[in-house]
């Protein structure tokens, strides 16, 4: 605090005046001889009551009043550490705040978590805005997300900031800055600024690029500090062995630390870390390791983020299983690898491909598979249809590549649950697909424009009534579409994989179609481990218990885990254990170099010097009101008379 007129503080010497005045005013009680004193009731003398109050409340109020006067006369100023936007031209500002909610923000900065500090700074910035400004909020935890589009409503931004919670996400600063720059540039305000509230740690050492056309400011340098951290990324159990992945920000951070496997009865095994940034270690548990108990792999010692020093031990599952129901591309007698198998193998060589020539008639037979691919099925008998429907509704992913055989299904066979209604094969097919409809398949779909089929499958219109069409033929008929069914999903093409009918299987878009199916399968049941922030498809009614306790129910069947650890997903009688893992790049707390000029105050912000006189004046008025209230309360005291002795 500083004062504009320090001599004004001399007024504070007058604090003794109320005391002196009080002592002068206060008279001693007169003592008189009075023979019938015993007949006089006792009563606290009014003057004594007043004096008592004056001794306490009024004297304190008056003394405070004098001090307030002294401070007021001295014209006090305080230099606040609050962030505020500088306005050299006085013009309105479009501000986009990028706030990092990744795991590295759990580390402390200045005695408080980095995230809390960053959020407080963001709130101060929002509060410093004026009418005419707009503010948006972008979260830098992977994937980068826009929380609030630039808007004049400061309340919306403040509420969004208040609703943010620290997570175990990875950091995607580049995408967040790009998104923030895009939002800022889209605003009408002449001044466009991006404020980055982050520790700048995302595992990369490349300097950050500031968005073009906007000023970028990293106001709190104390957030970006290289701190030691190690984390157990994952731990998988196979028998008595536990294989753990451990990552450290620097190799020296691993020194003298070890990984322990802990069960209900205590430590079951451990291994000392090597001085490496990332390492896989194998811990052999003692014979006493219980078979079904939940184990935890944890690091000894301490570091900047204690929360990532432990991970649940999961039983190592086999490779992702994919069932391929072969079609005409592979003859049953001359078994060779089908084009579908080749495409799946190209996508993921670790897949466990299970080829067959017919769809099992029991859903249990399909349950182990993450994805079932039917290559031009000649219709499905009722038992197979029921098995497929049950499999998909329980979370499975089924793909149907409909070709000429699908159009010549025998009587009684249909292609439900993929499509409803009649399926016809026609040899007249338009060349290529509708370009405008290909956005759903991404950049690789461009090859479908040159698609030259010898025929195609025509469906009833109702077949795609509730489906999402990912690609259409040039004449507008559906080429690729997908539809949710229960907890699962079906994906259909109206062209088979047979090279005799088209070149679809030779185009990158075919891999994209099968890749999507694999991703869906992994998200649903194939792989129970994923990164924090990945999207999980679960049953809408499923109850989920995460590392921090029960999670609110998801109406749309989508769950995004924000904390690393074990999640128990219960849907009906089925209990599924999933693990959200941290991105090991997030363990590196070394900050990236900030964008050029981002830390300079010319980037658009400053600290505030606030004159306190108005506040002191208000306090003085309050004191005067308080004194008046005390006087009113003590004006006519009702003395309590006791019985005469």
């Amino acid at each position: 605090m500083s004062f504009g007129a320090g001599l004004g503080l001399l007024v504070a010497l007058g604090v003794a005046l109320p005391l002196v005045a009080h002592l002068l005013r206060r008279r001693r009680t007169e003592t008189r001889v009075f023979p019938p004193a015993r007949l006089v009731p006792t009563a606290t003398p009014a003057a004594r009551s007043r004096a008592h109050l004056e001794d306490r409340a009024l004297l304190a109020v008056r003394a405070l009043g004098v001090l307030a006067l002294a401070v007021l006369g001295a014209a006090p100023f305080v230099t606040c550490s609050r962030l505020a936007l500088d306005r050299p031209g006085g013009s309105a500002i479009a501000l986009v705040i990028v706030i990092d909610d990744s795991m590295s923000m759990r580390a402390s900065a200045g005695g408080e978590p980095r995230f809390a500090r960053a959020r407080r700074s963001a709130v101060e910035l929002v509060e410093s805005l004026r009418d005419g400004d707009v503010v948006g909020v972008v979260a830098a935890g992977a994937p980068a997300r826009m929380l609030v589009a630039p808007s004049p409503s400061r309340d919306v931004a403040a509420r969004a900031l208040a609703a943010m919670t620290p997570s175990d996400r990875a950091t995607d600063l580049d995408a967040a800055l790009t998104l923030a720059g895009t939002l800022a540039r889209g605003a009408q305000q002449p001044e466009r600024r991006v404020v980055l509230l982050s520790d700048l740690a995302d595992g990369s050492d490349k300097p950050l690029d500031a968005p073009a056309g906007v000023s970028t400011w990293t106001p709190d340098a104390s957030l970006a500090a290289a701190l030691p951290d190690c984390a157990v990324v994952r731990a998988l159990r196979r028998g008595r062995d536990v294989r753990a992945r451990v990552a450290c920000g620097r190799a020296e951070h691993a020194g003298e630390r070890r990984v322990e496997v802990v069960g209900p009865s205590g430590v079951l095994g451990f291994v000392t870390l090597r001085r490496e940034r990332a390492q896989d270690v194998e811990i052999v548990m003692s014979d006493a390791a219980p078979a079904g108990a939940q184990l935890t792999a944890r690091l000894t010692g301490s570091d900047a983020i204690p929360d990532d020093d432990a991970a649940p031990v999961m039983t190592e599952s086999g490779a992702l299983s994919v069932s391929v129901v072969l079609g005409p591309s592979t003859g049953a007698s001359e078994r060779r690898v089908s084009v579908v198998e080749e495409a799946l193998g190209a996508l993921d060589e670790t897949l466990a491909l299970r080829p067959s020539f017919s769809v099992p008639e029991a859903p249990e037979a399909l349950a182990p598979h993450a994805v079932v691919v039917l290559d031009d099925p000649p219709g499905l008998p009722p038992e197979a249809r029921a098995a497929l429907r049950g499999y998909v509704e329980r979370g499975g992913v089924a793909v149907a590549l409909l070709g000429s055989r699908a159009g010549s299904a025998i009587l009684g066979n249909t292609l439900e649950p993929f499509v409803e209604g009649a399926v016809r094969w026609t040899t007249s097919a338009p060349k290529g697909s509708d370009e405008a409809s290909l956005a759903g398949l991404g950049a690789t779909a461009a090859g479908l424009l040159e698609l030259a089929p010898k025929g195609r499958v025509l469906l009833d219109e109702r077949a795609t009534a509730d489906a999402t069409v990912l690609a259409r033929w040039a004449d507008g008929r559906p080429l690729v579409f997908t539809r949710r069914l229960g907890r699962g999903r079906v994906l259909v093409t109206t062209l088979g994989a047979s090279l005799d009918e088209s070149d679809l299987a030779l185009r990158p878009a075919f891999l994209e179609i099968l890749g999507r199916a694999l991703s869906e399968g992994r998200a649903r049941k194939g792989n129970l481990r994923s990164l924090v922030g990945a999207r999980w498809e679960i049953a809408p009614s499923a109850r989920v218990v995460g590392p921090s306790g029960p999670l609110p129910a998801s109406d749309d069947g989508v769950l995004v885990p924000l904390r690393a650890g074990l999640y128990a997903v219960r849907a009906g009688d089925e209990l599924e254990a999933r693990v959200a893992e941290i991105d090991e790049r997030e363990v590196d707390l070394s900050p990236r170099p900030a964008p050029p000029r981002a830390s300079h105050q010319a980037a658009g912000a400053t600290t505030s010097r606030v004159e306190l006189s108005p506040y002191v004046a208000w306090a003085l008025l309050a004191l005067l009101a308080l004194e008046a209230a005390v006087r009113l309360l003590t004006r006519s005291p009702a003395p309590r008379a006791s019985a005469a002795p």
Partner: protein, 298 residues
């Protein structure tokens, strides 16, 4: 009190006469006329005795004249009981005499009236030490009473000294004849709680008990306004109070004391008289005489 300046009067006798001379003796004389007659014995006839008093039955039995000796009102003494405890020495800021001085004047005036009408006057002083003056008639009786009163000093604590109370009142109970008038002059403040019972016990055998409460004007009206710390004279007692707030309560306590004494006295044929030291003692003496007359006639 009129134009009488008590502080400038030197002798109690003068003051008593000044008071008593304002009262014609007729008030007491009427008591002679209408007073009852009690037989007290026989004695030999001497010339000059009222022939109507000759007891013929006794003369026949003894063969010489005897007259009946009768005890009239004038034979019944006036007993003055004057409180000289420490509280009676109180004099308010606006008062010229202490309560004891005022009570002494009233008592002496009563003695003057009594002796002037031929009654004997006895005196007992409550205080430390207690003093008793035996009943005597005429100037001697008056002189004894005034001398004792002049020697009395306000001292002693009667609030706890029951023995002193008994030492003072027992002779009165023993010697006061039937029909005697016992007048207590006291502030009734800080007196032992047994005083009332002891004094009312004197109102037997057709004795008349009168109590004159003598208060200073400050005690009677409690005219204070500023907060005070009041210290009792007798006993170790002090109280801090807000006069404005407790005045009503104090006056109620004063009135309650009066009511209690008055009720007790009236039940036994006595009377209660309130006096303030700034009041005219003549009126007090007159009131006492009237009360005594009422008590005897009742």
């Amino acid at each position: 009190m009129g134009a009488l300046d008590w502080s400038r009067l030197t002798g109690l006798r003068l003051r008593a006469r000044a008071v008593a001379d304002g009262l014609v003796l007729g008030a007491h004389a009427s008591r002679r006329r209408g007073g009852g007659v009690e037989f007290s014995g026989h004695r030999a006839y001497v010339p000059g005795d009222d022939l109507r008093l000759i007891d013929r039955r006794v003369m026949a039995r003894h063969d010489r004249p005897f007259v009946r000796e009768l005890e009239t009102d004038t034979d019944r003494a006036l007993w003055l009981v004057v409180d000289a405890s420490a509280s009676m020495g109180f004099r308010g800021e606006r008062s010229r005499v202490t309560k004891l001085e005022y009570a002494s004047v009233v008592a002496a005036a009563l003695a003057r009236v009594a002796t002037a009408t031929g009654d004997a006057v006895g005196l007992t002083v409550l205080g430390s030490p207690a003093s008793i003056t035996r009943p005597a008639r005429g100037a001697v009786g008056f002189a004894r009473v005034t001398a004792t009163l002049e020697a009395a000093r306000a001292a002693g604590d009667l609030s706890r000294d029951l023995a002193a109370l008994d030492r003072a009142l027992f002779p009165v109970a023993e010697r006061a004849r039937a029909g005697s008038v016992v007048v207590l002059l006291s502030d009734l403040v800080d007196v032992h709680e047994a005083l009332m019972r002891r004094f009312l016990a004197l109102a037997t055998r057709r004795r008349v008990a009168l109590a004159v409460r003598v208060l200073d004007r400050e005690e009677a009206s409690f005219p204070f306004s500023d907060p005070l710390r009041l210290v009792a004279v007798e006993g170790d007692y002090a109280v801090e109070t807000n006069p404005d707030a407790v005045r009503a309560g104090y006056l109620a306590a004063i009135a309650e004391t009066r009511e209690r004494w008055q009720r007790g006295l009236v039940d036994r044929g006595g009377r209660f008289v309130d006096a303030a030291t700034d009041g005219d003692p003549v009126e007090i003496v007159r009131a006492v005489l009237a009360a005594a007359a009422g008590g005897r006639s009742s």
